[in-house]
């Protein structure tokens, strides 16, 4: 077995809230290899962001990794001290967030912020850090980089701020970039610019990327592999082409059939996923998607299925594991 860049094994993360304990990440395992882009898809509350924050050890105060292993380049992260973790965050792993406007510090010049990781982790001086920031701004496509580094964040547009955030994440040439909904707050034409940039950086640097999104179109465009999360669990995992061509979990299948496609020519009503996203405080027994599932059988309400191989990729579903194909099935929904 070869060594993966990042490997999660049965990770459980709990949030202790006033109203109770939420198992935000409930037994998640996956890996990322150098140079690949892995998509994590799910709705709000599915655990996709908590998974990322667990990897980075940036959980909110109420959060705690309860059990499981997170190995990065073969090194176990869960037992590291805060100092050791900070060193890794500054140099080997970077994370960018949905709202770049609130992630940049408004009282420091952008160039200083982008060069700061180099001053801290590489011990270079301010002048060299600024030169590096200018080079990074150019790399991520910020025009007039020499002028821009001297400006404060409030004069940057949303797209420019996200570019600056990416530049900041990339200054130390990390081997893993985690991007949490990096384009959700941006307009589509700006989204296209940022995705194009991520694609280019990925190809040129060999950096691995974990892209967290709710947008299946974005996944289809840039991810090599995809993980679908529901109620804190991975319900499907596989190569993007396989998962989109023959989804083996009814949640993935339903999502793909419920979103309007720009290139679809019909005006048929959309297939609807009944019910609401799960209440993490009161999850149903058995399969967590079963109350909303058009394919559910009796067993689904009783026992929870494991993540198993179904026609070449992994799915957590009794129905498909028993051999039924969702695409070939009768008109469900």
């Amino acid at each position: 077995m070869s060594l993966h860049l990042l490997e999660l094994e049965d990770v459980h993360t709990k949030l202790t809230l006033k109203t109770g304990v939420v198992r935000a990440v409930d037994g998640v395992s996956f890996h990322v290899d150098a140079g690949e882009t892995l998509g994590i898809v799910g709705e709000s509350g599915s655990g996709k962001s908590m998974t990322a924050l667990s990897i980075m050890r940036l959980l909110p105060r109420s959060g705690r990794i309860d059990s499981g292993a997170i190995r990065f380049k073969g090194r176990e992260l869960t037992g590291l001290s805060e100092d050791e973790m900070e060193e890794i965050r500054g140099t080997e792993m970077a994370m960018i967030f949905q709202d770049p406007m609130t992630s940049l510090n408004p009282v420091y010049r952008t160039g200083w912020q982008v060069g700061e990781p180099l001053q801290i982790h590489r011990g270079i001086d301010v002048r060299a850090a600024l030169a590096a920031a200018i080079a990074m701004f150019k790399k991520v496509g910020i025009p007039e980089a020499e002028k821009r580094v001297a400006q404060y964040p409030h004069v940057f547009s949303g797209g420019m701020s996200q570019r600056a955030m990416i530049a900041m994440g990339l200054t130390t040439s990390p081997s893993l970039l985690i991007a949490d909904e990096p384009t959700t707050a941006l307009d589509v034409t700006i989204q296209a610019q940022i995705l194009d940039l991520l694609r280019t950086l990925n190809r040129d640097s060999g950096m691995a990327t974990i892209l967290i999104t709710h947008n299946l179109g974005v996944v289809a465009g840039i991810c090599d592999r995809v993980i679908v999360m529901y109620a804190g669990r991975v319900v499907e995992q596989g190569r993007t082409e396989d998962v989109f061509a023959h989804p083996e979990h009814p949640y993935t299948w339903s999502l793909l059939h419920s979103i309007p496609r720009l290139d679809a020519d019909d005006r048929e009503p959309l297939k609807v996923i009944e019910g609401s996203p799960p209440d993490m405080m009161g999850l149903p027994s058995g399969c967590k998607f079963q109350p909303r599932c058009p394919f559910a059988v009796e067993r689904c309400a009783k026992d929870e299925p494991e993540l198993r191989d179904v026609r070449g990729h992994l799915a957590r579903c009794w129905v498909t594991q028993a051999g039924t194909s969702l695409n070939g099935s009768v008109d469900a929904g």
Binding site: D187, I190, Q191, Q193, G221, P260, R261, L262, I273
Partner: protein
């Protein structure tokens, strides 16, 4: 303007159901930019800057554009929830912008709005039953308490909410259910025209289809006319008969929904379409993408001539000299404001 008064009186009396329900002409809505201790006006945000638009009876007109393009302001200006600066909005032939408060109030009964988050602006201490019933009181549409209660239950049923929910409070509802309450409230006055402003963009993906299907079902049942404002062109194309594309305060293209997708004329429309990701890896990876340079132009200081020229891949010197009117390209119903259309 006596001539105009005569004209408006004429069209009001001769308006028939075959005529456009809403006609917007040269509509502008500007907001002052104030600065300094004296809050002097130093400029104008030209949110809506000379828009012509026709909405036909029973259709869904989609209105798309990026944030700040003025689409929400246009929607609100049409309902006069924001007072436009100039222009005309004819509803059933009558110019709403020249109407007094009493006439306007009567007119309002015919129109409603659905918001992105219907509870953002409402009293969290009101029950959802009261929220839905409020328009009935404002417009005196229910004579007795009992009549009102019955109507509210009927509305709940229409939008797929259990009538037993009437006594609950907004915070007890999920996003999708809240939007159903917002739709029920909009339907309370039995309107013919509804402006839907980003009605599904705050909802989880799995809930969006429920609301889209509900809006379509209600349209069919009550012969509603929608102005459907959204930034997600896939959603807009699915629900709309025709689509208008806005860029920095202007409508730059309008056409049938399918035709807009198949043969966009304006370079902005083409780049908008090419930027929308399609949830299919084989299609998505084979697509040719137009990546635009730079950011959306400022509505305070728009570029001379065509406002899109600073980002346009087809721009010529002529584009900076004069602004192309919307009917520069006219292919039947399909209009585009461009000197160098894609053809």
């Amino acid at each position: 303007m006596p001539a105009e008064a005569v004209a408006s009186g004429l069209s009001a009396s001769t308006w028939s159901a075959a005529d456009p329900l809403v006609e917007v002409r040269r509509l502008t809505t500007w907001f002052p930019v104030r600065s300094g201790v004296l809050a002097r006006t130093v400029g104008q945000v030209r949110a809506v800057d000379g828009v012509d638009l026709t909405i036909r009876q029973g259709e869904t007109l989609g209105l798309v554009g990026e944030s700040g393009c003025g689409k929400s302001t246009l929607g609100r200006s049409i309902l006069r929830l924001i007072e436009p600066t100039s222009g005309e909005v004819r509803f059933k032939g009558q110019d709403m912008l020249r109407m007094g408060p009493a006439a306007m109030r009567r007119m309002r009964r015919d129109m409603a709005m659905i918001f992105q988050d219907p509870f953002g602006s409402l009293d969290p201490r009101q029950t959802v039953g009261d929220i839905v019933g409020e328009p009935l009181e404002i417009h005196h549409l229910a004579r007795t308490r009992r009549q009102r209660q019955e109507r509210v239950r009927e509305l709940f049923d229409l939008v797929g909410l259990a009538p037993s929910f009437v006594d609950r409070y907004p915070h007890e509802f999920s996003g999708g259910q809240r939007q159903r309450v917002g739709i029920a409230r909009a339907l309370a006055v039995d309107p013919t025209f509804i402006v839907c402003d980003e009605p599904v963009s705050a909802l989880d993906v799995s809930i969006q289809a429920q609301i889209i299907n509900l809006l379509e079902r209600l349209q069919e049942k009550f012969n509603l006319t929608y102005l459907f404002i959204a930034h997600d062109l896939s959603v807009v194309k699915h629900i709309s008969d025709r689509i208008a594309v806005m860029y920095v305060g202007k409508v730059v293209e309008v056409s049938g929904a399918r035709e807009l997708y198949q043969s966009p004329q304006h370079p902005y429309t083409a780049s908008l379409l090419s930027a929308i990701p399609i949830p299919d890896p084989t299609v998505e990876r084979g697509r040719e993408r137009i990546i635009l340079k730079g950011d959306v132009a400022s509505p305070v200081n728009p570029p001379s001539g065509c406002r899109f020229r600073t980002r346009c891949f087809k721009a010529q010197p002529q584009c900076a000299e004069s602004e192309p009117p919307l009917d520069t390209v006219r292919l039947g119903d399909h209009l585009a404001a461009c000197y160098f259309p894609l053809g």
